[in-house]
């Protein structure tokens, strides 16, 4: 495919970034990876806590620049160390607002205004500025000031209560996210659409993305089922109304599983055939979805007996070759070391990190035939402070030194 190689998709777009934590980091990373110039404001006093996450053994307690997890979410940015509470911070921020097309932030709602850098201030400097806020509950409403994390959004939006076995505790994911990875996509979508809108109309805008609401949209079918049918859905393991069997089945080896989903009666016949048409499959009630739903416990038990004899990978391929939806429950090891599709699609791309050396980073989650994203390593804390002040703002060395000596930069 012919790439438009001479130009990055968002080349020339300038982003001033107060983003932090996963949702903040990921939003502007996606913009940077597609060619926008992103200046990330950070400080040692209010440190991005992804810089403190020592989940892997190479990460130290003392060096903010040795966290691979931070790097995933902060590629293609310039690191700008500034103490936002310094009395002279405002004149520097004002100059960045003058420069920027987009200002992004995900502090607690109201915090940016409190600091004096909110939308009204930005607009007074740059009337067509695009400011995008990300938060848990949104910028307005009685719960907007409630603190929260990824789990807050998931809990409030019925995601967590509906996950788990009916007779047991609901369960969170052990080590994965939902809202933190979802809401940045709305932020990027709205920012990029707003850039196009500004191109057509000359108008900027203030955008308000709430993780809770992004998740509440997903749960809307359960709300409609309740309002329209009086049916209150609850957690039900792997079972769904529209398919049976539908679950994870044990395979050979330690904790190996294969998911199988049968949507239609034809697929059910194909599964029976794949299992060698055992006698129990001939029960006529299994011929329809309704019948299979009513006998799902038995169905699951019988299928499990059969799947236990299989290697998960082989079972997946065997069932898929017969047109049945099946997939191995992949572990992180499977994803990183083995998954052929992630390799074919170059999902994990080596990036040479100045402290950690080269390691693989996930690229943005879509492929564009005409534009290739590129990931520059995440910045060290304040790594580009001098560069962005002199090259982007055009400060003289003297100006920079004066502000630095006063403690504006950290």
């Amino acid at each position: 495919m012919n790439k438009i190689k001479d130009k990055k998709l968002l080349e020339g777009v300038k982003v001033f970034d107060f983003g932090w934590a996963l949702a903040g980091g990921y939003t502007t990373k996606l913009l940077g990876d597609h060619g926008a110039t992103v200046v990330k404001a950070e400080s040692t006093v209010h440190i991005d806590f992804a810089r403190t996450n020592r989940m892997v053994s190479v990460s130290s307690r003392t060096n903010p620049d040795d966290k691979p997890f931070y790097s995933y979410y902060n590629t293609s940015k310039l690191g700008f160390g500034i103490n936002l509470k310094h009395p002279r911070a405002k004149e520097v921020i004002a100059r960045f607002y003058q420069w920027a097309d987009v200002v992004f932030e995900n502090f607690s709602p109201g915090k940016l205004d409190e600091l004096g850098f909110g939308y009204e201030f930005a607009k007074s400097i740059k009337p067509d500025i695009i400011m995008c806020h990300v938060s848990i509950y949104g910028q307005s409403g009685r719960m907007s000031n409630q603190p929260g994390t990824d789990g807050t959004g998931s809990s409030a939006a019925a995601h967590r209560l509906l996950t788990g076995w009916p007779e047991r505790y609901p369960v969170p994911p052990s080590n994965i996210f939902y809202g933190d990875m979802l809401v940045p996509l709305f932020a990027v979508t709205s920012i990029v659409a707003a850039l196009d809108y500004r191109r057509r109309t000359g108008k900027g805008q203030e955008i308000d993305c709430s993780m809770f609401e992004a998740l509440a949209q997903k749960a809307a079918p359960t709300v409609v089922d309740l309002a329209g049918n009086g049916n209150l859905q609850s957690r039900n393991g792997n079972r769904v109304a529209y398919a049976a069997p539908h679950g994870a089945y044990p395979c050979r080896g330690e904790d190996r599983w294969c998911a199988i989903a049968v949507y239609s009666d034809e697929e059910w016949k194909a599964l029976c055939e794949a299992m060698g048409n055992p006698d129990w499959c001939r029960d006529p009630r299994f011929d329809t979805l309704e019948g299979r739903k009513s006998g799902e416990d038995l169905l699951d038990e019988r299928i499990s007996r059969w799947t236990r004899e299989w290697e998960a990978d082989r079972l997946m391929d065997f069932l898929q070759s017969r047109g049945i939806a099946a997939g191995v429950i992949q572990t992180a090891r499977d994803l990183v070391d083995a998954d052929p599709v992630l390799r074919e699609r170059n999902y994990l791309v080596p990036v040479d990190h100045p402290v950690l050396g080269p390691f693989r980073h996930p690229r943005p989650p879509f492929l564009l035939s005409g534009h290739e994203p590129s990931m520059a390593p995440s910045p060290g804390l304040g790594e580009h402070t001098f560069h962005v002040c002199t090259e982007i703002l055009g400060m003289t060395d003297e100006e920079f030194i004066e502000l630095d000596q006063e403690g504006v930069f950290v």
Binding site: L9, M55, F69, Y72, G138, M143, P147, T152, H159, L161, L162, G164, R168, V171, P172, P173, S174, I176, L185, A193, D196, R199, E206, I207, D208, C209, E213, A214, A216, K218, A219, P221, T222, V224, D225, G228, N229, L232, G237, A241, G247, W257, A325, G327, V328, Q330, T331, A332, R333, L335, P340, V341, R345, Y347, F359, P362, F366, L367, G370, H371
Partner: protein, 425 residues
């Protein structure tokens, strides 16, 4: 302008971020979300369905309970604001009509098995030939041109292969999928992001492109913490019931209340200091023998260095505390004290949620045909300058055939009749 006036104003004249652009939406249930996001931004989305209706219309549950392709709940939630035309792409005439539509369209969204549109002669190269500006967005389980391109997908399978299920469930039972089509939804939103990026590029260069979204791959983005752990330390975290891993520590996250469940995680250091101290104070005030008092400074608490015996004592005390509280207490007193605990709300709570009420998140969608009103989400995000709102209910099968074929494509009454008789529309 976040109140009712915004809606009224929007009704009088479309002012979404992308009003004035048009999309042809060929997706099945794997891809509705992308077109819904574009429609909310103001794009005129034509849902092009096979005669008889899109297969996703047959997904239950249904309004009223009985299977009816015009009443699927999943269909209705994720196809708001779209128009529906029926068209049989497996006929020559159907493909001709589709290419005529593509000439004036800005986007095509599809979720057929990879290669299907090419085999029909209406894949990306054919679309590009009639309209070089067009953007084709494909949403499939494993992407275009991969060794799993022929495989069947769906929510469960993509969640399994995406590394999500491995992380959810009780250790003594099977891994679990997330509720309410989480992978499909996430991938649909990612597809909208890719599409809007491509749109921006197209407006700059005049050239469209093909956006290729793999549902599995979007799910993998959520597994990033596990990728890091394996890549660097060859360690992995499996499902651990109501616990979560934070950094290097396993901490309980779901607790039982008198009348439900609550989400509360002890975060170490600055991140959790305020909430931990607030919870400890509340435990003191109810007169508990509170072991959290052992912590002198929450800001410097380093969870990995707390002995397991001590963590277990803390956990038992916190469990006892929560078991004595109600959902209402957590919502009111817990919020006031900022303990950062969130009640696990269900669909009923979501509809009654005061925050969503304040922001007018739910709208009452009118279904005069059924004499019903149903709640629908009104927006994905808010903006002060544009109105990116849901306004119209999802269409019935072929509801806009007349409007689009006669008024937009200029087909005559006789032509329409003939096409109907030939099974094209």
């Amino acid at each position: 302008m976040r109140a009712r006036e915004a809606v009224d104003c929007a009704l009088s004249g479309a002012n979404g971020l992308l009003s004035g652009f048009r999309a042809l939406d060929l997706t099945n249930a794997d891809g509705y979300v992308c077109g819904k996001v574009l429609a909310a931004l103001g794009v005129d989305v034509w849902k092009v369905e096979r005669p008889g209706g899109d297969p996703g219309r047959y997904r239950g549950p249904f309004i009223g309970g009985e299977p009816d392709p015009d009443k699927g709940i999943y269909w209705h939630v994720f196809n708001t604001d779209k128009k529906s035309v029926t068209l049989n792409l497996e006929t020559v005439k159907g493909r001709d009509i589709f290419l005529r539509m593509a000439v004036s369209a800005d986007f095509v969204i599809e979720s057929f098995p990879p290669g299907y549109l090419d085999r029909l002669g209406i894949g990306y190269s054919a679309l590009k030939a009639v309209n070089p500006r067009i953007i084709l967005t494909s949403i499939t389980p494993f992407g275009q041109n991969t060794s799993r391109s022929g495989h069947r997908g769906g929510e469960l399978i993509c969640s399994a292969l995406g590394g999500v299920m491995d992380n959810i469930g009780d250790p003594d039972r099977a891994p679990l999928v997330e509720p309410t089509e989480s992978c499909i939804y996430h991938a649909g939103v990612a597809a909208a992001t890719g599409t809007v990026l491509a749109h921006y590029g197209r407006e700059m260069s005049g050239q469209g492109e093909h956006v290729d979204v793999s549902i599995q791959e979007v799910a993998v983005t959520r597994s990033a913490a596990n990728l890091v752990l394996w890549d660097f330390d060859k360690r992995s975290v499996q499902r651990m019931g109501p616990f979560t891993r934070f950094g290097t520590t396993k901490v309980r996250t779901i607790w039982k209340l008198k009348d439900g469940f609550v989400n509360w995680t002890m975060f170490a250091g600055v991140l959790g200091a305020r909430a931990n101290a607030a919870l400890s104070r509340w435990m003191d005030e109810v007169g508990m023998d509170n072991p959290l008092r052992e912590v002198k400074d929450w800001k410097t608490l380093d969870l990995p260095s707390v002995p397991k015996e001590q963590l277990d004592r803390w956990e038992a005390a916190i469990a006892e505390f929560f078991l004595g509280r109600t959902k209402e207490e957590i919502r009111t007193e817990g919020s006031r004290r900022k303990i950062s605990a969130t009640v696990l709300d269900g669909p009923d709570d979501l509809l009654a949620n005061p925050q969503l009420h304040d922001r007018e998140f739910w709208m009452e969608m009118d279904y005069p045909e059924w004499g019903m009103k149903l709640p629908m989400p009104r927006y994905f995000f808010l903006s002060n300058e544009t109105e990116n709102f849901t306004r119209r209910r999802a269409p019935f099968i072929g509801e806009h055939n007349e409007e689009i074929y006669r008024n937009q494509l200029g087909l005559s009454g006789e032509e329409l009749k003939a096409l109907q008789q030939e099974g094209v529309i």
